[in-house]
């Protein structure tokens, strides 16, 4: 087998464990005689187009481990859909460098970018094995029972709500926390794992999968305050009006990336608007809103052990599939049935992950539309791991 070179890159929003996937793929590739150079393209396809690489063969094993344990995307990231022109330029670069292996770590948009590159290669008759390695804190890839990155972000969210519920117990009133998740409510739903006592918050959980009404929201808050004397609310940044318009869209800057996604994070506008709604409609005086923002995907020292190990394994699996001669595609994660938590990594076509994302299944959403079901909690618990103990007086 003729040795050919490898390019690996990271794309889309960072996560706490995306570098585990990078390290897993690189460590696996370093063992193989079929792979020559291992080039880490900086900032995704922008690094390929700009000829900007880190030499991943030269990095010491110690340094590679330290990078694996570091949050965010060590190679840098990008949000860019490759155009036909980009694809042409990418092949010129791949030809020049004799790249035969291409690995792209990211979400559904990144899976689609990898697919576009792979299909263009096939059309040009250029021999290339391309793999997408799954990553998204949103947990919205159709190809995976759960996606690497989700467990750690969910762990941050659960811990944040544990602390915030204790804070709300101390001073009372209504506390609204806005959680990331453009179209899928999985991350917001993880707030339910924070509950340690029958009266623990979050007392209300709003997901993008159910239409949001400001009137009903204010009434739900009033009921919770009547019951508990206080109220902690988890709200997805992606909540939508009955007509499908994101509630935040009217308040955010209205920026869109090249995949057509609206900017929802990096602003407190939605939380502030919801706090104003509660104050105006209920007359409750102490209403506060926090927007967890980018800490959810980058806070050091909070990564879930299971998530870290699976992100690593997903990177290794992609390289193993490629070296085994399987056709390019994505790494799916399947959960074994049965009581004991166990997963399997399987090769799937790009189409299993690319483009359209998945939402929370109805079985995970409470009938009242503002909570999750026990089935969701069972689903999410092993991904997040044991949480810190808290004690009430």
């Amino acid at each position: 087998m003729k040795k050919r070179n490898m390019v690996i890159a990271q794309s889309g929003g960072p996560s706490m464990v995306i570098n585990q996937s990078l390290a897993g793929a690189v460590a696996e590739a370093r063992k193989s005689d079929a792979i020559g150079k291992i080039l880490g393209a900086r900032h995704g396809i922008a690094g390929i187009l700009g000829n900007d690489y880190a030499d991943m063969r030269r990095i010491s094993a110690r340094k590679l481990e330290a990078i694996a344990a570091t949050p965010s995307s060590a190679l840098g990231s990008v949000r860019r859909k490759p155009s036909a022109e980009d694809c042409k330029a990418i092949f010129e670069e791949f030809r020049r460098l004799d790249v035969g292996w291409f690995f792209y770590i990211g979400g559904n948009d990144s899976a689609d970018a990898a697919r576009i590159v792979a299909e263009a290669a096939q059309a040009e008759g250029y021999p290339l094995c391309a793999y997408h390695i799954p990553k998204t804190i949103d947990n919205d890839l159709r190809s995976c029972d759960h996606t690497p990155g989700y467990g750690s972000a969910a762990r941050f969210v659960a811990m944040a709500f544990m602390g915030d519920d204790l804070d709300n117990r101390a001073l009372g009133g209504v506390k609204i926390d806005v959680v990331m998740g453009r179209d899928a409510g999985f991350l917001t739903a993880a707030s339910a794992l924070a509950r340690t006592a029958p009266d623990s918050g979050p007392h209300l959980i709003y997901l993008p999968e159910r239409p949001f009404s400001a009137e009903r929201f204010a009434k739900d808050v009033e009921s919770a305050v009547a019951k508990h004397g206080r109220c902690v609310v988890a709200v997805s940044e992606g909540i939508r009006c009955a007509d499908g318009t994101p509630v935040a869209a009217r308040f955010a800057g209205g920026e869109k990336d090249s995949h057509g996604n609206m900017q929802l994070s990096g602003t407190g506008a939605l939380g502030d608007m919801l706090a104003k709604t509660v104050k105006e409609k209920t007359g409750i005086a102490r209403v506060r809103a926090d927007t967890f923002g980018y800490l959810q995907r980058s806070f050091p020292g909070v990564a879930s052990e299971t998530d870290s190990a699976e992100a690593r394994a997903a990177g290794e699996a992609a390289v193993r599939f490629a070296l085994a001669g399987l056709p390019g595609g994505t790494v799916g994660i399947e959960r074994a049935k049965g009581k004991k938590y166990k997963v399997e990594f399987v090769r799937k076509d790009f189409s299993a992950a690319a483009k359209t994302a998945r939402s929370m299944p109805a079985a995970f959403i409470a009938k009242n539309g503002h909570d999750v079901t026990p089935a969701f909690v069972e689903y999410a618990k092993p991904l997040v791991g044991a949480l810190p103990q808290v004690e009430l007086l």
Copy 2:
């Protein structure tokens, strides 16, 4: 010595280690024959006025330790300045319960509340030994080299900026993070501990101690972007215009508590306004703002070990001072001179802590007005403890 009963309570904003002070004081009191009942008043003086107590003698040692390790105020908190009428009602209650020992854990407003109660007792000829136990994440008590609660909140802020700087490296642009701190910049300044490399953020740090100008801010950001290709900014929620008006005051709801403090937290308005300023004045496209909010004072599992131990020791010291027959007052914390970090707990008059708070000394603020000095970093490092390791590629 006739046995008399004890009341302890928590007041003001919660912290990650305020329960360590509670546990320290309670454990110390439980050893003494001079103290009878140990009553934890719920929600500060509101619990005394409302006759709502937890029996702190009955709690098992194991449960007390678990409470100590739990963030936020286990007894609940309150923001309430005792009026003359409140004081009268407090004595009726203290007389009824034969309370001879009163401990109030909180910041400068709580020190003032304890002083008011102590002075009113003296005026009434009621024998009462009252102690304030210091707590504030703002680190603004004049009576302490540093205040219990600060080290842990500073640790959260430093870790948040470590992660957020890695996130900003990945996707670029300008990231503004708003940090708690009404009048003192200590907590915002702790963001400087996040720097691990010469080009690490935060690249700009704005404190309430220096007048803020939107024009200069936009120029500072432009310079940082020119130098690093990106920019992470730490901003105190308490930044002020040249005339002393809080920049946030125009954007927040304008709520004030009974101590006259404006609501600055629990809203993303300041961050959003600063992001808008940068976009408009510089034309930089990707500008995001996060407001760390209440997570800074309640996130579980992030507490600094030094801070936890000192919060515990401050609670113990207050009870020791009281039992030793020293006149009521507050627990001061003094740092020993010399290379090795060491502190001493000393009794001080209420006036050392009450009412006016302190600001960052000029020696801790960089001449350019948008950074801290190495002296600040040396000051803060032992309070925060060793931070997670991160590795750059």
